[in-house]
Symmetry: D2
């Protein structure tokens, strides 16, 4: 088995734990690669084991950090490599274990005593072309000027779903339902479901409600106010400004995120984390 190790770059404890994980796996005879960015922050890893995330070709990636670190890995890796997330963030909807459980979790992983939790991702097409990362949480189509509403129409499978004047529109996966979509009034969605949440952000018309649609649907978004630049934000990580007349389409990605889990538990595991946001 080959492993990858990635750490949150701004937290020394995460970098140190990453080194201990790396060392533990090497000592046990496994091949281990370390992500370039992690290495840049802690030079103790063997330089020969350093690779950009894009070139990771391993069986598992051990990610030590928060949901942001996992999203970075998801955006950069080119294969659907299972991730074991160790929580060094604040909330940790995606991570599986706490730092003190790291080595116990690794031994279960090595013993094959785990379960792979597959999560859908969304692919975004800008004028028919896909050149942005797939989103594990959400695609947000936002006003380019904070506080200046945009006027959007959105379509589900070609039918007009709604027309809104709002700060933006969020199209989220079940995984992302506890994030930005929830701040916009969206529901919690069971991660086993293959659906999308479409949630308008601060719409003028309060009759514009969040919607839940099949993940196999095609969601089209058109900007009506052609003077207003829009921002496309993927998972709160990747940002790009787009000209007003851009056509945006969101569909199910052929790729999936894979997470190492030690239980199939959903309730209260994820619903409790919502409570912790408060």
């Amino acid at each position: 088995m080959r492993f990858g190790v990635v750490a949150r770059r701004d937290k020394e404890a995460a970098l140190k734990l990453a080194y201990r994980v790396y060392d533990f796996l090497k000592v046990n005879g496994y091949e281990v690669v370390v992500d370039e960015d992690t290495y840049r922050c802690l030079r103790e890893f063997d330089e020969e084991d350093v690779l950009p995330l894009e070139d990771f070709d391993v069986d598992f990636i051990i990610v030590i950090g928060g949901d942001g670190t996992i999203l970075r890995v998801e955006h950069k890796t080119r294969r659907d490599i299972p991730i074991l997330g160790v929580n060094m963030g604040t909330l940790g909807f995606l991570t599986e274990v706490e730092p003190h459980e790291t080595f116990f979790a690794l031994s279960k992983l090595l013993a094959g005593d785990y379960y792979i939790d597959e999560r859908i991702k969304l692919r975004t097409y800008v004028n028919g072309e896909n050149s942005v990362p797939d989103s594990l949480n959400e695609v947000a189509i936002l006003t380019g000027i904070p506080g200046k509403i945009i006027h959007l129409r959105y379509y589900v499978d070609g039918g007009l779903a709604d027309e809104i004047r709002a700060d933006g529109l969020i199209v989220a996966t079940p995984t992302g339902s506890t994030g930005y979509a929830m701040s916009a009034g969206g529901p919690f969605v069971d991660p086993r479901l293959e659906v999308m949440v479409i949630a308008p952000l601060a719409p003028i018309a309060l009759s514009s409600r969040p919607m839940v649609v099949p993940a196999t649907s095609e969601v089209g978004v058109r900007n009506i106010s052609l003077q207003r630049e829009i921002v496309l934000a993927i998972d709160g990580q990747f940002y790009t400004y787009l000209p007003p007349e851009t056509e945006i389409t969101v569909k199910l990605s052929p790729r999936r995120a894979k997470f190492v889990r030690f239980t199939k538990e959903i309730y209260p595991k994820y619903t409790l984390r919502i409570k912790k946001k408060f």
Copy 2:
């Protein structure tokens, strides 16, 4: 082909249109039955054709009225008979045509030029026994005393989803997502999805969010405040008071509602009707 005819009882125009439909179908040589309650309000139907809804054994039922009339038919019929709904109500999320389109719709139906839209229903078990109608819209578990909150725990597939102090809890189908569940803050759900919406009603803790879970899940509800009687309300039609310690379980019903549709359109057909609620 055999037909059934049912009308809203409190609207003369509905009863009269029902008679015209009945007459039209008879004249065209079809067997037609009329529901007992409709007959009680308009005595012009041939007494030999009158039957209680429970004994309807026809190919299609023409329902002239609002969603309430359709829900009454759904609760009483014993087979999943396709319904053609003619809107004589206010909103009409379930009906398909307006009164002036009735005979055009009938001729399309007779010509086989239609589509059957199947909708899931929920079955409720009270202490393990099912003795209440299946719900096409929602199951509501409510405080027995208006304004006195109840304290509930609810479980999805055995895992604790949340614990609430609230006016009640709503478990809705996609069909019911535009009804009571939406008043409680729930999302619009695409009717093609096989999911349930679980929405707390005026919960004290604002972190108690609506949830969307697989329709194949088992939702268990337990009343913690054992002095408080609870009310079980099915589709806003069927009501029963239950003792505090009752165990309520909601599951997918083996039965489905079937609606005659002339298009497969969902957007903006249903999302527009949400706007009309305002």
Copy 3:
């Protein structure tokens, strides 16, 4: 100075602390009366000091319990007697000190080192007559049958404010803004303001928003669906069923609630308690 002592009846610790407070004040030479209901639960008080709340004519009432106990005192006393609330409940928006601070608080009170926080109350007129207690938190006009919506019109100073189909309507004081009105979507209101919050409960039309109006306004509520009995609930304590055609009017009461406070602090004192609801 004369004191009254009242305790939550279902909590032994509250009753015992009440006795210690009673004893402390007596030993220090003050006249102390005990409420009849408290005495019924703990017979140690001197029988001569026992009085119904309605006959309390003291300078301060020490209330040991939760907000429910304070509301009971407010509903029954006939003069606006300042209350020092010791929190033996869950949230305690109205109470001022925790049990371990009781005697420190009493000595500050005896030393005159306190501040009186006055809160407005609402008076409800049923067909022009006032026969129900004033509300410190809220007046709720609710459906008599849980789950069956009522159809209401409400007026502010004679002008139609909105027409709703809903589970009910809540008219709250600033003090009550953190209670039932907040569950219905209402805002937190600074207790220094003389305003009312009017919040529809699970309205069908999502355009029916909570409103904030001057406390000097007259709020009129009319039930349009004349078959539906309604429930009038005052502070979640006093309940009465009313016939459908009843006219309900809510106005500022000439009475005020008075609370002993040791700081004038509002923020984050009360906003933090909202967080604790989660």
Copy 4:
């Protein structure tokens, strides 16, 4: 009596009606000035009557346009001149009459048959200095990068009211309560009240509720995430980017907006306009 005339610049009908109003008042012997920007779009006005809004020193301004045009007048004029708004916009919360009522309204105004509706405004201090226009609707403190949350603390009269991670924070007048603040979940506020609404915009923590505080309060806002630039938006008209560490304070302005009204009606006048947003 001296009059000013201002029109929406992008609507020919508004400009033409402005000219007719100007002409009517001149013919009737009144002094009339026209705003520079209006003149730039319609050259028919007498050049001698043209003035920048900043120099308007008249008894009344007739504004033909939508709320945006009125906000422009409010931001630029240096005295609190009563405005008669003729609605050539979409919603028109601030305007008083429809175009066909213009000359009837003018004759009532000339006859002294009107009422002045005074509305509070908010003044914003950036690091203690006021260099931005007063807001009639709202002050919005927003993330400088759409979709990247900011971390704010806000204080009411020096006490910490809440700490949020959100898209921003809105501080609105009663007049602005039907605008951006309502999209963020805030209540309708009776325009007679002297209060502010503080509403977090898409906060992560759903326990962060809109608040209503006295207009005499001082609202302080601090940006905690010191890498994030913020945007200050006044009435959706005036925008400025501010460095992360900026201290923002919002207080009641000594200035008021004054509107010519022909009735003192509030309900259902304004609440109905909320319905029209849908």
